[in-house]
């Protein structure tokens, strides 16, 4: 049975009503062919909503050499400050599960695991309720940045390790964000949820907005900037990029807008590294960030390579924790 990919576009309000309150079957799903699901996802232009914007349909293509047994739905917020995934799990629970099960069908997976951090008990409870009788289950993870990083989620939820330079596919897993799951369920993506947050915003909130919406419109919808706001970041505080122009639009990969006040982003003066090893302790990929930092600063790329720079996911934990700074 083919899936229809949106001919006429619903309004944002209709989509919102549909995602939140619509009827999403989780047990007796219509009998789609796997190829049909992949095709629908491809036509809808879905990309991963966790931030990297990897085309979703590629993940769902079956590959005889690399069979997939698990769909891991990543409900771990990718960064602090952001709560978009949380709201989706809480309000569109059934849509998330339905989408994940569809993805499992497409990829030929036997089970769905929804990974949620333990600081979201409400979402866990609701998901567990709705998962009953389906192939989906909930995995409760410790709240810890960067638990939302794909490799970290796979490791924490399933105990499998994704090879450097490889994909979760290599160990039989396909990871999709909860928002992506919802979008798969709808099979037509024109909208996505975005968190507008941070201390610099008047009324932080989660919004379901159209791709292409300018940042200024999002900020306006969240009550506008405070006078004290100094930095607007597309994404979260750890990996987001600061934007210079509020006309910058929401893209498929935008997970939030974070607005900072001056004290939040005070730039401390750098002091000499004493190799205390705090960065080594926090690196989720087991790298030696202090060496990578020096190698990059002096452009010594062979040293950078020897210390596995290309394995870095740029989560920012090392820079966050570094004590070699001088705060005035």
């Amino acid at each position: 049975m083919p899936i229809k990919v949106g001919a006429e576009q619903p309004t944002p309000e209709e989509i919102y009503e549909d995602v939140i309150g619509g009827d999403w079957p989780t047990t007796e799903l219509p009998d789609h062919e796997p190829e049909a699901i992949v095709e629908a996802v491809k036509k809808a232009g879905l990309v991963g909503q966790g931030g990297a914007a990897f085309p979703t349909f590629i993940k769902l293509l079956r590959n005889a050499e690399k069979p997939v047994d698990t769909i891991l739905v990543n409900g771990c917020e990718c960064e602090p400050y952001l709560t978009a995934d949380y709201r989706v799990m809480l309000e569109a629970t059934r849509a998330v599960i339905a989408g994940a099960i569809l993805a499992a069908k497409a990829a030929g997976a036997k089970r769905v695991v929804i990974a949620v951090e333990d600081n979201k008990p409400k979402a866990i409870e609701k998901l567990q309720q709705e998962c009953k009788g389906t192939i989906a289950s909930v995995a409760q993870l410790k709240t810890k940045y960067p638990a939302g990083g794909e490799k970290q989620t796979v490791r924490a939820a399933l105990g499998r390790t994704v090879a450097t330079g490889g994909l979760p596919l290599d160990c039989g897993v396909v990871v999709i964000n909860v928002g992506t799951a919802t979008a798969i369920a709808r099979a037509v993506l024109r909208d996505k949820p975005v968190t507008v947050s941070g201390r610099g915003i008047n009324t932080p909130k989660n919004l379901l907005v159209a791709i292409g919406t300018p940042t200024s419109a999002l900020i306006a919808a969240a009550g506008g900037l405070k006078d004290s706001a100094v930095r607007v970041v597309s994404g979260g505080p750890m990996m987001g990029f600061s934007i210079a122009n509020l006309d910058t639009p929401v893209t498929k990969g935008t997970s939030g807008i974070t607005v900072f006040e001056a004290p939040d982003v005070a730039q401390p003066v750098e002091t000499p590294c004493v190799r205390c090893g705090r960065c080594v302790d926090v690196c989720p990929l087991n790298l030696i960030p202090t060496r990578l930092g020096l190698a990059a600063r002096y452009a010594v790329w062979d040293v950078a390579e020897r210390y596995h720079m290309m394995a870095c996911m740029e989560c920012g934990c090392c820079a966050y924790t570094c004590p070699a700074l001088w705060c005035n």
């Binding site: 006078d227 930095r231 509020l246 005070a266 190799r275 080594v280 004590p323 070699a324």
Partner: protein, 389 residues
């Protein structure tokens, strides 16, 4: 960084009413709003019914200066290098107290002279390099305290000054100051004066012939006694610290408590002291079990606990070997480093002419740290980066 170039020049910014006062950040980019009209039309679509009477019109507007900087945008500012250093000073405080308790004003004098000279030489030498002296990072204080604690109680004041000069000058600043030195500065200073002024600092420096017989100052240091007479004080004395020795090394208890504080605060690594204790215990135990006493080498008689509790071993394990600047970066490397230090401690204590080998063991292993770092680059989670092409 500014986008003026890209903007159509059509809309002059004539509406300054809701313009938030631009603060004056250093890195900035003007984000003005020629296309604001379009955005404003869209904006009210959703929030309009909710926010009719906000304090000011909810319009995101006009020349607004925004910071632009790379991520991460937040940092944990509660922990600074100075914080780490102060932690070490706190950990050392207990050892200093023990030293003052056992050696009275001798300890006060040596510690004061070496600490103050370290600060003075740091200021002088750093200024000679044309840099701003950073005495308030407390690293020179730590060097001074550790140097003082590693000297005998009878050290003349001018030897303390020379040791401090060498420690800061040749041990640290000549390499490029904080974070750049290869060898532990305090140990460099101590090694220099130990070798240069051996008449003042040898075994004789510890024993006070005029001291009362029951005073610890009248006894030989435990390690000297072990190699000359094959005897050792009771373990209990070694543990509490009422034995003779360098100022900071006598009390195992003070070193353990202060060291545990550092380890719990993660200011000192747990890997290095652990490896050191395990390896020294293993070597000493193996000697006891398989070789037994040898009349030519009286030091071989020392038991595992005597090895661990005597000399500067525990003080060094917690406070000197754990110096992050001069120890390896990875966990594996730290284990190797600690094991190496203990191996040389044991080797020098048993076979060399010196009763204690900690200082040389640490300096020796310091020189191997770059090599250890190179050998122990940890494998990233998920394995090595695949080679391209």
């Amino acid at each position: 960084m500014s986008d003026e170039g890209k903007k159509p020049q059509g809309a002059p910014e004539a509406e300054p009413k809701a313009a938030p006062p631009g603060d004056k950040p250093e890195v900035q980019a003007a984000a003005e709003k020629p296309a604001a009209a379009a955005a404003e039309k869209k904006a009210p679509a959703k929030p309009a019914p909710k926010k009719p009477a906000a304090k000011k019109p909810v319009v995101v507007e006009t020349p607004y200066t925004l910071h632009v900087a790379p991520s991460p945008h937040v940092a944990n500012t509660s922990l600074t290098t100075r914080g780490l250093m102060v932690d070490v000073v706190l950990g050392l405080a207990l050892v200093v107290l023990a030293a003052v308790w056992f050696f009275r004003w001798h300890a006060v004098l040596v510690l004061a002279v070496s600490t103050v000279s370290c600060l003075i030489f740091e200021a002088i030498f750093v200024r000679m390099r044309g840099r701003q002296a950073t005495l308030d990072d407390f690293s020179a204080v730590i060097t001074g305290i550790i140097l003082g604690l590693s000297l005998p109680w009878s050290t003349p004041w001018w030897i303390c000054v020379v040791a401090a000069m060498i420690a800061i000058g040749l041990g640290k600043v000549i390499f490029g100051s904080l974070g750049q030195n290869i060898f532990n500065p305090a140990m460099v200073g101590r090694a220099f004066v130990m070798v240069s002024f051996s008449a003042y600092l040898g075994a004789g420096a510890y024993v006070d012939p005029h001291g009362a017989a029951q005073s610890i100052l009248s006894q030989a240091t435990p390690l000297t006694a072990a190699r000359t007479a094959g005897t050792m004080p009771e373990l209990w004395f070694l543990f509490l610290g009422n034995t003779n020795g360098s100022l900071g090394e006598t009390s195992a208890l003070a070193s353990i408590l202060g060291g545990l504080y550092l380890v719990v605060r993660r200011t000192a690594s747990w890997e290095i002291p652990t490896a050191m204790v395990v390896v020294l215990a293993a070597l000493a135990g193996a000697m006891q079990l398989f070789v037994g006493p040898n009349p030519a080498l009286l030091a071989m008689k020392m038991t595992v606990l005597e090895h661990l509790l005597s000399g500067a071993f525990l003080f060094g394990a917690f406070f000197i070997a754990t110096d992050p600047v001069t120890s390896p970066l990875s966990r594996q490397g730290k284990f190797y480093f600690g094991a190496g230090v203990s191996f040389f401690v044991w080797l020098l204590r048993t076979f060399s002419n010196y009763p204690e080998g900690l200082m040389f063991a640490i300096l020796l292993m310091n020189s191997l740290v770059p090599l250890i770092n190179r050998w122990t680059v940890p494998e990233p989670v998920g394995g090595l980066v695949p080679k391209r092409g």
